[in-house]
């Protein structure tokens, strides 16, 4: 058994690369499964068959799908020349040239990714803190009014759609009271204050809603662990209640919590379309949405691959954390 951390990371990375390859193939195939013609969108007002053919040839759209895919992969790995119409040579990792925006895909993604990360990561810290904190509090005071209140809060959080709460917050805090600026993205490096004040509304909205699931999960897991024999033994031995909760009951709860958090953060980083649309922020989610709407294959492929990369990375982190929490996982 190769239990060393290095081997573990290596194995997981290999699997991640395989996943990315599969995702890219499937996306490519799905794009062409739909009868659509990106060339038609680029054709001027008086378009006709001959003109269309010319544009297809110029953008490499008349090649078979497999050849186009091979070109694409070569670009990602080694870079490739895209021709005059697409900005000339494109160094590795070349994600192609947007049909619509007239710029290399990687430029657009490099702008969008920090926006999404700035929305999701601080929000995730907030929602985890809120979720685990309230969940433990509820479990520790099982059956008390506090437990009931937290339970009600979490159920309400599950039942409220994000766009509804977000719109109400916008109306209240931005348009009516004017205490917060309209959500906008400023680079953290440019001005930390503007960064935070521009994003505090989406953070709070996401945290309030996403914490609901974590409250319930934490509460259920902690309560279950509290009833397990070893915890009961610890309590019987006279150890302090709080210490028992922290030491013994929370630890088994971490496995499902880490799983859920990893999946949520990974998925959210891949694109929080609804959050971005609700608050008018232009991140990966909106890039993907626009690419789909505009039939922009290179942009779509780029966005999907970056999103997949983030999800895969999150999975590796989750698995790594598993191994730390529960050494038996690594031994397998």
């Amino acid at each position: 058994m190769s239990g060393s951390p290095a081997a573990f990371v290596l194995r997981r990375t290999g699997r991640g690369l395989l996943t990315l390859a599969a995702v890219s193939v499937v996306t490519f195939l799905m794009f062409f499964a739909v009868p659509r013609d990106p060339a038609a969108a680029m054709c001027p007002k008086n378009c006709d068959a001959a003109r269309l053919e010319q544009i297809r040839a110029q953008w490499g759209l008349s090649d078979p799908v497999a050849v186009q895919y091979a070109h694409y992969v070569r670009g990602v790995v080694a870079g490739r020349d895209l021709g005059r119409a697409q900005g000339g040579y494109c160094p590795a990792p070349c994600l192609g040239y947007s049909y619509v925006n007239g710029e290399p895909v990687i430029d657009a993604l490099a702008r969008a990714l920090p926006v999404t990360m700035s929305i999701v990561l601080p929000a995730a810290v907030l929602w985890l803190a809120l979720g685990i904190g309230l969940g433990v509090a509820a479990a520790a005071r099982h059956g008390s009014p506090v437990d009931r209140m937290i339970g009600g809060f979490s159920l309400a959080g599950l039942a409220l759609p994000l766009y509804l709460l977000g719109s109400m917050f916008l109306l209240l805090f931005v348009y009516q009271l004017g205490v917060l600026p309209y959500p906008h993205y400023t680079a953290l490096t440019e001005s930390p204050l503007a960064w935070a004040s521009g994003l505090v509304l989406p953070w709070c909205t996401l945290a309030l809603l996403f914490s609901a699931g974590y409250i319930r999960l934490t509460r259920a897991q902690v309560r279950e662990a509290m009833s397990a024999d070893f915890v009961r033994t610890a309590l019987a031995k006279g150890l302090a209640h709080r210490r028992v909760v922290r030491r013994h009951a929370l630890r088994p709860a971490l496995v499902p919590l880490v799983t859920a958090a990893g999946l949520d953060v990974g998925a959210a980083l891949g694109g929080t379309v609804i959050t971005e649309v609700t608050f008018g922020l232009y991140g990966l989610g909106q890039v993907t949405l626009d690419a789909v709407r505009e039939d922009d294959l290179p942009m779509l492929m780029g966005a999907v691959l970056v999103a997949a990369l983030v999800v895969v990375a999150a999975n590796i982190v989750v698995d790594g954390l598993y191994a730390r929490i529960d050494p038996r996982v690594r031994a397998r």
């Binding site: 699997r15 991640g16 395989l18 996943t19 990315l20 599969a22 995702v23 499937v26 996306t27 799905m30 794009f31 499964a33 739909v34 009868p35 339970g151 159920l155 309400a156 599950l158 039942a159 409220l160 759609p161 766009y163 509804l164 719109s167 109400m168 109306l171 699931g213 319930r216 999960l217 259920a220 309560r223 279950e224 009833s227 088994p252 496995v255 499902p256 799983t259 859920a260 999946l263 990974g266 998925a267 891949g270 694109g271 379309v273 609804i274 993907t288 949405l289 789909v292 709407r293 779509l300 999907v304 999103a307 997949a308 999800v311 895969v312 999975n315 529960d326 038996r328 996982v329 397998r332």
Partner: protein, 307 residues
């Protein structure tokens, strides 16, 4: 003690008043949704009937609270002028059918796949893990576009309208097929944790077969994560359906849809709040009742937590 576990659960559930109240409420809402055409007939308004005459030149309903009256209990939609009560009832039917089917499919698939992965381990676990990774990394949006349009082109002629239920079924299948991974993850984690616990090890040591271990030692402990997951998926799928509708990929007009209705109503928060309140409240009550009932049910299924 000769009472079966099922009866015991029921008895415990009946003592939990919030669970019972919310259970009745959920049943009532589901009943209303299922009987939507009958309710509409009794109420006297069809789902596609418009009342443009009761709208002002800007398309806003006359009267109190967005046109609430004896004949229009929840008022009228701004713009099209349809009856909101009827739209809500029919919309609930669509949203529930999609989200419910999808959640059941996803939970069933997730529980089976996650359980198999966790119990068997080894290469089966690795293969399923990889498949899960791939599916998780595929954006739902792209799958929706790649699935819905070619399917419709294939099954319906260029002049044949695609019936509303077809979209609903496709969307439900899509959510189910792409939404089972979180459940699988949860169940797998639980099974792995359980597999190593003393009572399972003990059962195995005492020579119990795999079937006995799965049915007697593992399955009873999976109820909680599965139900938690189910109650998490239901609202997620309702919201997802709304988002797809927004992009023209979900259920289309004139089939009523709660999610799409809420999405459209949001712009009217200031000008016609009643239009936002009624469908949002319906969705909120629906999910809230389901979640509360689920929680009670879970407590009843898992009495150790109450000991």
């Amino acid at each position: 003690m000769l009472r079966s576990p099922g009866l015991l659960t029921l008895a415990r559930l009946r003592r939990d008043r919030p669970a019972m109240v919310s259970g009745v409420a959920a049943l009532l809402l589901v009943g209303l949704a299922v009987a939507a055409p009958a309710v509409g007939a009794v109420y006297g308004v069809g789902p596609e009937e418009t009342f443009a005459g009761d709208l002002d030149p800007y398309g806003m309903p006359y009267g109190v609270s967005g046109g609430v009256s004896a004949s229009h209990w929840f008022g009228l939609e701004p713009g099209l002028g349809r009856d909101i009560f009827v739209q809500v009832i029919f919309g609930m039917r669509t949203s529930l059918a999609i989200a419910g089917t999808a959640a059941l499919v996803a939970t069933a698939v997730g529980a089976v796949v996650g359980g198999v992965a966790g119990y068997l381990g080894g290469w089966a676990d690795a293969a399923i893990g990889w498949l899960t990774d791939v599916l998780l990394a595929l954006p739902l949006l792209i799958c929706a576009i790649a699935l819905i349009r070619p399917l419709e082109l294939h099954l319906y002629g260029p002049r044949d309208p695609v019936p509303g239920w077809f979209r609903a079924v496709t969307v439900a299948g899509l959510f189910g097929g792409l939404g089972w991974m979180p459940i699988a993850r949860l169940v797998r984690g639980q099974v792995i944790a359980l597999r190593e616990q003393e009572f399972v090890t003990a059962a195995r040591a005492s020579g119990a077969g795999a079937r006995w271990i799965v049915s007697r030692e593992l399955l009873p402990h999976l109820g909680a994560p599965v139900l938690t997951g189910l109650s998490l998926l239901l609202p997620a799928f309702v919201a997802g359906g709304a988002a797809l509708s927004f992009l023209g990929l979900g259920v289309l007009e004139p089939t009523a849809d709660l999610g799409r209705m809420i999405y459209r109503s949001l712009g009217y928060l200031q000008t016609d709040p009643a239009y936002v309140v009624f469908p949002s409240a319906a969705l909120f009550l629906l999910v809230f009742a389901f979640s509360t009932f689920n929680e009670g049910l879970r407590d009843a299924l898992d009495p150790r937590a109450l000991r």
